[in-house]
Symmetry: C2
Subunit: 267 residues, 2 copies
């Protein structure tokens, strides 16, 4: 069976798309005075239908489903059934716990829900990561330099040799024994993408922060795709584009894909 | 309304118990060749019934419920309804995400499930914590020095002044604007409990690692309760005690409580 990193790279090449659409669907964004879970579900399917052929990956954010408890997780289960097989589905969960607990989360995310990959927090170290990287066909994107304003509170602390996020990039390379580890590097600090790449050549990057968070698409695409590949995540600016119609969503996604193709495949 | 830290402290005094029982219920531990979700649910209720009067807190671990998807979260919802009001219920979730997502997790954990407190990972900094600390009556225990062997990978890195977990303890004090922030400090590195206390006087500690993980109960109780209070979490050695009967579970819990009372209230 192919390793996660090989499969991801092949899908990006075949679909000529570096786009990952994040699924963060909440009623506050649906412009409705009151949205039912059925409305949220219908909108999720609308986003998927509008973008199937354009994307390399989808990234459902577990928080937006968990907010509703068991009916929310049922919505996530139905969403997982709605995806095609020619994309990678990343569970944006940012889990990180002792080995015994991490095993349960791996069962949840890979076995129960059937995600291809997961996002993980590195704060508890290697034994919190290993249960997710044992199967080569399943991937783990480890938080390195995140896209939020407070990322610097910890991640940019000096740790002797370099900053904390430099250290994480180096550890991720060590932890990548099964060719299935990647890194989360935010587009909102574009100057640091090359820096992370220097510490982790070859590892795939998941780059959030484009769109609502104001990240730099050009620099993310160019710097992220040197010595490895970069998956560019866009959530709100696609899933809540324009009048929220299927065509508005598709146009927004197509526009991002065109920009990325121009940057990668310009003649 | 009372702040979380005041309420926790009062419950510990009234019940004369520093015991938190962790609910990490999995079929592999139930000694059954095949356990249904109903068996897991029945065992969860058995643990709660056996220990109601003995504990200050319960700590359901979300991973063990999420493993089963939506039916697992239904089991968690039923479990939340089964608790009494004179205890604190901590959602062991170790969440940590950008502000927009953290808000959804806060809605899940506090509004939907009704937990009194949550465990959080600090890797993404202050804006990943704030959505959980806005309501003074809801608490947040931030991972500081965890109980797992790989904790040292990041947490013990030098960061200029002190180690990374020293810095977290100092940040937690800054973030404690509503008297509802605490720290997770593992009993498996007992010499570090005093060190964390030095950086965070007054903050409540949630101390896991007693029992199956081999932590030091005496040192955790004594050092943890100087200049603040410590809640001692025990999971597997209580919930899977002896022959798994109600009386075996109660005896194990009573034994821990007796040891703690001897240490705190010896005449």
């Amino acid at each position: 069976m192919k390793s996660f990193n090989v499969r991801l790279s092949e899908i990006i090449k075949v679909k000529k798309s570096h786009l990952c659409v994040g699924l963060d669907i909440n009623p506050e964004r649906l412009n409705a005075t009151s949205s039912s879970l059925d409305d949220l579900k219908a909108h999720t399917f609308r986003v998927i239908d509008a973008t199937r052929d354009l994307v390399a990956a989808y990234k459902p954010n577990l928080a937006f489903f968990e907010r509703w408890g068991s009916p929310g997780y049922q919505w996530l289960e139905e969403t997982m059934d709605y995806f095609d097989n020619d994309v990678v589905i990343i569970g944006d969960a940012k889990r990180g716990d002792i080995g015994n607990t991490a095993k349960q989360y791996a069962k949840s995310i890979f076995d129960h829900f059937g995600f291809d990959a997961v996002t993980l927090s590195p704060y508890m170290g290697q034994d919190s990561i290993t249960p997710f990287t044992e199967a080569p066909e399943k991937g783990a994107f480890i938080l390195c330099r995140t896209s939020n304003p407070s990322a610097i509170d910890l991640q940019s602390l000096p740790t002797g040799k370099g900053l904390l996020f430099d250290k994480i990039a180096q550890l991720a390379v060590q932890w990548n024994q099964n060719d299935n580890v990647g890194l989360v590097v935010g587009a909102t600090s574009p100057e640091e993408i090359s820096r992370v790449r220097g510490n982790a050549p070859g590892l795939p990057f998941l780059i959030p922060g484009i769109g609502a968070q104001g990240g730099d698409l050009t620099k993310s695409m160019i710097d992220g795709n040197i010595d490895g590949i970069a998956l560019i995540n866009v959530s709100r600016s696609i899933s809540f584009a324009g009048d929220l119609s299927k065509s508005a969503i598709r146009n927004a996604a197509q526009d991002y894909v065109n920009k990325m193709r121009d940057l990668m495949y310009e003649s």
